[in-house]
């Protein structure tokens, strides 16, 4: 079974530029997550989709970050314009959960995209 795919693996941009990341979850997984992991810290949830609807985006900086999940499969995360503090690894994860209110659900992660903002 193929895992979570992400691209690109690495991206270097200058501040105020735009960037987009792509994620393809494990086949059949209803829930998709985007995390930001700053060096030396644990991942922080940015946004959570169930199918193509947003379940939680409370920690997404909406003035510069946006995300979509068209047709409930692939997802794109965009930053526009980027700031120096956006330098981090952006992780995509997916889980099987097909109902919002369940107690436990294992998330499987992709390899991540390392973003450097100069």
């Amino acid at each position: 079974e193929a895992g979570v795919a992400q691209s690109p693996r690495y991206k270097i941009i200058e501040k105020r530029q735009s960037v987009a990341f792509w994620c393809n979850p494990i086949s059949g997984h209803a829930t998709l997550y985007w995390y930001q992991q700053i060096l030396g810290q644990g991942p922080k949830l940015l946004i959570q989709f169930q199918n193509n609807g947003v379940v939680d985006d409370s920690q997404l900086p909406k003035d510069r970050f946006s995300a979509e999940r068209l047709k409930g499969v692939d997802s794109t995360l965009k930053i526009q314009p980027a700031k120096l503090e956006d330098s981090a690894v952006y992780l995509c994860a997916s889980s099987l959960r097909d109902r919002v209110y369940i107690r436990t659900d294992t998330q499987y992660f992709g390899p991540g995209t390392r973003l450097t903002v100069l």
Binding site: G42, D56, L91, R103, F109
Partner: protein, 112 residues
């Protein structure tokens, strides 16, 4: 203070030695997940615990959950170079939908 505390933050052990990593939650747990991360890469799922007293093992790695104390420990027996990496615990939270909150990670180095 952190919602999920891991200790120690870093650990250097001699190959063949045993070691333990701890994870303590300040809030109610809805599942406790252990992941391993190689530098600059994604997280690899190791184990999930959800019941008090539960213990799971995979190869030489054992994880236990003390639900009353809201703590979990990860124990590695006879460590090998392949065990090196960052170990992250994730606490399941029910805030509307179920979500994961992660600790800051424990960086494990194995010296030959």
């Amino acid at each position: 203070s952190q919602e999920l505390e891991q200790s120690p933050q870093s650990l250097i052990v001699q190959e063949g030695k045993n070691l333990t990593i701890n994870c303590t939650s300040s809030k109610t747990l809805y599942g406790l997940y252990w992941y391993k991360q190689k530098y600059g890469e994604g997280l690899i799922f190791l184990m999930m615990l959800q019941k008090g007293g539960e213990e799971k093992s995979h190869e030489k790695i054992t994880a236990k959950l003390d639900e009353k104390k809201q703590q979990s420990s990860l124990h590695i027996t006879a460590s090998q170079p392949s065990h090196a990496g960052i170990y992250l615990c994730g606490a399941g939270r029910l805030q509307g939908a179920q979500k994961l909150v992660f600790g800051q990670g424990t960086r494990l180095t194995i010296n030959p």
